[in-house]
Point group: none
Chain length 121, copies 4
Amino acid sequence: MNFDSRQPIYLQIADHVCDQILDRKWTPEERIPSVREIATLMEVNPNTAMRAFHHLQEQDIILQQRGVGYFAAEDAYEKVKNLKRKQFMKHDIPHIAEKMQQLGYSIDDLKQLIEDQQNNS
Amino acid sequence: MNFDSRQPIYLQIADHVCDQILDRKWTPEERIPSVREIATLMEVNPNTAMRAFHHLQEQDIILQQRGVGYFAAEDAYEKVKNLKRKQFMKHDIPHIAEKMQQLGYSIDDLKQLIEDQQNNS
Amino acid sequence: MNFDSRQPIYLQIADHVCDQILDRKWTPEERIPSVREIATLMEVNPNTAMRAFHHLQEQDIILQQRGVGYFAAEDAYEKVKNLKRKQFMKHDIPHIAEKMQQLGYSIDDLKQLIEDQQNNS
Amino acid sequence: MNFDSRQPIYLQIADHVCDQILDRKWTPEERIPSVREIATLMEVNPNTAMRAFHHLQEQDIILQQRGVGYFAAEDAYEKVKNLKRKQFMKHDIPHIAEKMQQLGYSIDDLKQLIEDQQNNS
DNA sequence: GTGGTCTAGACCACC
DNA sequence: GTGGTCTAGACCACA
């Protein structure tokens, strides 16, 4: 796992968990990997992985079953999707709009740039 | 001034200065407000304002004239614009593309969202 | 069975057993439901139910008859009642008194609140 | 500082902070002691103190001013009081009512017990 | 086996 | 000076 130094590792782990849920890889029925498993898998300290789990638990995205482990909440998929949508609306859209105005890009320019990006990747 | 807690204050100040330059409000001819003025205006510690100026000075966007104050560089406008363009390409575009894919937005959805945003503001 | 996450499950089970004894539902003459029965009934791991029984056995509230099962002790009713009284005096009363002081409730306020509670349930 | 082993230290610290706020000892205007100060004062690891602060910050009881420290929120007093009241209603009152019923105490018995308690302390 | 808490100590960014 | 993150390692309660 490659971490981006601009964001705390634990948040990146939390994000990764959300991605798995969005991809329907971790469903509410099955236990998600244990703190220790995640920690060794991602080569971080268990405390760091734990912190990510706490962060998600606070948002009711994952739930703890005592002595067993963590599970995705029943409505985890919707919750994550909603959260991400809201964040996108609140932060990304205004940010893009501002940048576009500053740089003099039209919406069609943006469209073009994104398409280029997708072709390259 | 309202600061976003996700980014260091000094970078947000630097950004604000760049915005002024992009808006042609601060031209190379005239002196930029002093560190102290900026600090009191934005209600931050003078050290923080200073740091923003240093940051800009390192990129040759502003120049210090000792004993007089700071001035926008001759080519500040072009410099800032180029820098912002590059950042936009490197960071924002990929970020948006990823989010769009995650959330299942098409480019036309994005277009719509941005237009809504512009109408509301 | 709904468990309160602030207390170990096995203690909550033990408490539940005590409640049955206090309610005269489980008398010294008859066998208490087996560990397995309790476990399936309450949807917990048999180990957890076993632990609850051990806990009660240590306090001589229940007795094990090897190969037969568990029975409430002859003096289980009195024992449980005494224990609960002591706990109430030692923990609950001081706790309530402290909270009341913090929140500015008088004893009459408390009286009122408890009556409301009883009417609602 | 004497900690009760039945509850995590960091929660007891958080509680202590709330008590100070309820006692109007720490008002929104002044900075509350730094993480390190609390840690040395209470003889715990700074991480433990930090954890308490995070816990309070999540509930918007204290706010962070970047690079300066933590402050009680403007409405901290009301927030804490409301929270405690709610908890009292939700947990303590039903708990007492249940115990009283089990032990056969009347409300006047309770009144008497609390008065005794207050006289002794 | 699971998670939870705590300590110790390091390093960093920020104000 | 402030808080924030991370590691390492220990110990514990619980299922």
